[in-house]
Amino acid sequence: MSRRTPTRADVATQEWTGPSRHYDIVKEGVIALVVVSLLTVGLAILFGSPDEPSLTFKGWATSAPDNFYATTVAELAGTSESAGYGPPYNSAADGLAVGPLNPQQWFGVTHAVDPPNDFVITPLRAQQAPPSAGAALKLWDTATSEQQTTWATNYDTAITAAEGDLTHVADGQYGPVPALALALTDMASAGSLDGILMAQGNFYQTDYTKQILFMGDGSYLDDAATAAHLQGNTWGMMNETGSYPGQAWLWLYSVWYQIPQTNSDGTWLTDHADPGIFYVMMILTLLLLLVPFIPGVRSIPKWIPIHRLIWRDYYRGQRTS
């Protein structure tokens, strides 16, 4: 029975019994903490941190009243992005499938959002409405859902045909929809919609799903993000407001949104960019996790001798010994 011959690999496996030196890890840790604390204080005092105030419905309705008005009509007509989103907010769409996989449907509607009622009708009912709005609400309530949809869709189509210019919308059978949209715009301009949407019938509230969806249906939030260079195709995933480093660690995730194939309107890859890039990043993360077990990849450090720089004293010692 022959004795097993030790190999180079065993050097890493065995307890190190070669040359050693004093190394005070506690002192090193304390010095590191002091240095990092001072560095953090210096950076914080010199540069501060980003804190751009949040957008409000009041700001939207006062700075872009026509867009707010048109978005309100789209919510009533069911043509907004939120209204046609699908799970987890509603059942209006199937969600994005990649091949046979459609995980967006797996858990169904978990955060129910009903744009016409949640964004428009319920807030209008929550306040002491002016007579015109009160009458419009009464007419809306007494109509069938088909009639409601017809009014709202007709008006939404007319606004779209007028390219959002409310002064050029053709006359038509719109029922109480113009009055409802005007009442909500007035309500938002006065600042009361922000509070009513936040409270949603409760004293405490910490879920802003409905507000974010409603605000995202218009152009106000999108325009502000464009102005701040926060769109996905301008590295928005890793940028943040002002001249701050943002989430630079998301650079690889962000890279995929810069390539033309995920950036062109109407292409399959662009439409499926979100799930596709998510899956790619999950696979890359898994590969990073499994580097020690992947033949070839785990040998890269041997082929590219950066370790010769890291341990240059050790290798220099080897040459002289």
Partner: protein, 228 residues
């Protein structure tokens, strides 16, 4: 009741069987005090790259301390108070440094092939800690309650919804994001960092690639290896 008649040998045997004693013996066998807090390191541990591990831990402690102050003061404090804004800035820059140090540490360990010699779990816990740290930073950005939070939550929801994650991780739910950021993620990252460090202490610092056997008496030199 046999306590009064128990003989010393039986006492020792009973003590040996105790879960507490077993755990203590296991701990001391795997990680004796001189391994946990060594005063010497192999001579090859002599590069600036080694500093980035401890710098990451230091930055993590800065984040924990400043995050604790922010938590006690409440999530709206830093919007309206200069002291709050400074604390938030410390938290912000602590995070930037933490992730930067971690990335450098990770790259350093990659080029050192630091998973060699039964150290794969050390690599794995490090990568998971890095990914968890990104998740922590992400929930922190969502919990800022400012324009950045609004936009990030609006954009991020689509990617997460399309893969089903949005059903139980709702980025537009401020309360959920704040709780995950402040209560859950520090525990997750803290646990992973402690685990990672204990593994490093247990296995020791990985020796240089192609380390020659003359450093370790029990290992034959490559040339001798070839002759045998």
């Amino acid at each position: 009741m046999k306590t009064a008649e128990t003989r010393p040998a039986e006492v020792d045997e009973a003590t040996d069987r105790m879960w507490t004693s077993r755990l203590r013996r296991l701990w001391l066998a795997k990680l004796p005090p001189d391994k946990l807090l060594p005063d010497r390191q192999p001579a090859y541990v002599a590069s600036w790259i080694y500093v980035f591990g401890v710098l990451s831990i230091a930055a993590f402690l800065v984040i924990l301390a400043t995050g604790l102050v922010l938590a006690f003061a409440g999530p709206a404090w830093y919007h309206s108070s200069s002291a709050g804004h400074l604390t938030n800035s410390l938290h912000f820059w602590g995070t930037q440094l933490f992730l930067m140090f971690m990335v450098i540490h990770l790259w350093g360990k990659f080029w050192m092939a630091a998973w060699r010699g039964r150290r794969a779990l050390t690599w794995v816990t490090g990568v998971i800690a890095f990914v968890a740290s990104i998740g922590t930073a992400f929930t922190g950005y969502l919990a800022q309650s400012n324009f950045d939070s609004q936009w990030i939550s609006f954009e991020a929801k689509d990617g997460l919804n399309t893969v089903g994650v949005g059903a139980f991780f709702n980025v537009t739910n401020y309360g959920q994001m704040l709780l995950i950021h402040a209560c859950l993620m520090p525990l997750v990252v803290g646990f992973l960092v402690v685990w990672h460090v204990l593994l490093v202490r247990r296995r020791g610092i990985v020796p240089p690639l192609e380390a020659f056997s003359n450093d370790v008496p029990d290992v034959v030199k490559p040339t001798e290896d070839a002759r045998s």
